[in-house]
């Protein structure tokens, strides 16, 4: 008996999916890729969400990340997570944390989420609330405390910008003191509101160099206590890597499209009319589609093309 590596192309169905349940959000963050706040006019209904959730269960999709917008605002959220957890699907939620009261934290803990990932972009009230418009610094800290109190695995995502990047080290210290076990951090992407606010969102190369230095130092300092996950690649290098190593996680948009990746505008069908098997087969082929390769190669030369990735461009696949 052996244990061998395989590629996602060998699989009959996806193992892992990311599901943007809604574009509705209680915040209007200045760097939001999806410019989330208002829901899309054609979002999946409660019945449609539950129907697709059942399809994931039937085909043994093993792990789902629920994101948004703010996923807790979708009226089907709790029914969906109860359905998925009752079939032992591992769940992670990406949230801004503003709605995580003690009772919500308790409910998430009872459902045994694999992780709750909270967006947290600053070690001070001033920078956090400048970035997360309508957000409350006190509430996000409270959310993390509530989750930790109930034993939920808390992860944080931090996006460095021109005005919060200097707080990287201080933020990591704060997160460690709150009991956060994992920090993901990556540079902003030229999409949605980040593109509109690029002059204040995009850090300088000097700032990035210093930020990487701090991450390396903190990684050693918190070894065994908190994982710090980041990439040294530039956005262009990230895209080149994506082309060579496509992600095996299709993204379901709030209106049911299947997107290849966050930073690509292409969709390969819709859960309203295509079954999971068809969508997965198209997804596998899509990564070799000339339009996808051309887009990535062009965006490597000019990152501003990524602003297009907020669109839903149908990709024709035989």
């Amino acid at each position: 008996m052996e244990l061998n590596s395989i590629t996602y192309e060998d699989l009959e169905y996806p193992l892992y999916m990311i599901w943007q349940l809604t574009n509705r959000c209680n915040l209007e963050c200045i760097h939001c890729l999806w410019a989330s706040h208002e829901p899309y006019p054609d979002e999946l209904s409660v019945d449609e969400v539950l129907k697709f959730g059942k399809e994931l269960v039937d085909h043994q999709v093993l792990y789902v990340t629920l994101s948004g917008g703010e996923p807790l605002l979708h009226p089907a959220f709790w029914k969906l997570v109860e359905l998925l957890r009752s079939h032992d699907v591992e769940l992670k939620i990406e949230t801004n944390g503003q709605l995580i009261s003690k009772s919500v934290a308790k409910r998430l803990a009872e459902l045994d989420f694999k992780a709750v990932q909270v967006s947290f972009d600053g070690a001070s009230k001033e920078t956090y609330e400048k970035m997360r418009v309508r957000g409350s610094y006190e509430k996000v800290i409270e959310a993390i405390k509530n989750l930790v109190e109930y034993g939920v695995n808390v992860e944080v995502v931090f996006v460095p910008t021109k005005f919060n990047i200097e707080e990287t080290g201080k933020l990591i210290d704060l997160l460690a003191s709150l009991g956060v076990r994992t920090l993901y951090t990556a540079r902003p992407i030229y999409m949605g509101r980040a593109a509109l606010n690029w002059s204040i969102v995009n850090p300088t190369e000097e700032q990035i160099a210093k930020y990487i230095e701090i991450l390396e130092k903190k990684e050693k300092e918190y070894q065994g206590k908190m994982r710090i996950i980041y990439s040294k690649l530039s956005p262009a290098e990230e895209l080149a890597y994506t082309l060579q190593h496509p992600t095996p996680a299709p993204i379901v948009t709030a209106n049911g499209y299947i997107r290849l990746a966050n930073s690509l505008p292409f969709v390969i069908g819709n859960v309203r009319k295509d079954d999971l098997k068809t969508l997965w087969e198209r997804y596998k082929k899509a990564w070799r589609h000339p339009q996808v390769i051309d887009f990535i190669n062009s965006a490597i030369k000019d990152y501003r093309l990524l602003a297009k990735s907020i669109e839903f461009i149908p990709l024709s696949i035989e």
């Binding site: 008996m1 244990l3 996602y8 193992l15 095996p248 996680a249």
Partner: protein
């Protein structure tokens, strides 16, 4: 040496596919494939059985020298360790 028990990392999932059994570590998002015997060993580890118990049960279940089965089981466990699928 006393009785040795192993513990699989908590968020590891198994799934039958046509070509074998997929082992998916949802923490690292790494995917491996094994066969039905590998799956059986993983499930026995999950059930809290010791290495000796696993070898004993597989020897009763499958034909072959017990010593060979013992070597195969230890080799498989080594691979689980290398792939970082077991708790320290």
């Amino acid at each position: 040496m006393g009785v040795v028990y192993l513990e699989l990392k908590r968020r590891i999932k198994l799934k039958d596919e046509k070509f074998g059994v997929v082992v998916f570590d949802t923490e690292t998002e790494k995917v491996f494939v094994t066969n039905q015997v590998g799956k059986e060993i993983i499930n026995k580890i999950k059930e809290g059985k010791s290495i000796d118990q696993i070898i004993e049960e597989l020897s009763n279940e499958y034909e072959g020298e017990k010593e060979q089965i013992r070597n195969d089981v230890y080799e498989f466990i080594d691979q689980l360790k290398k792939m970082d699928l077991l708790k320290e």
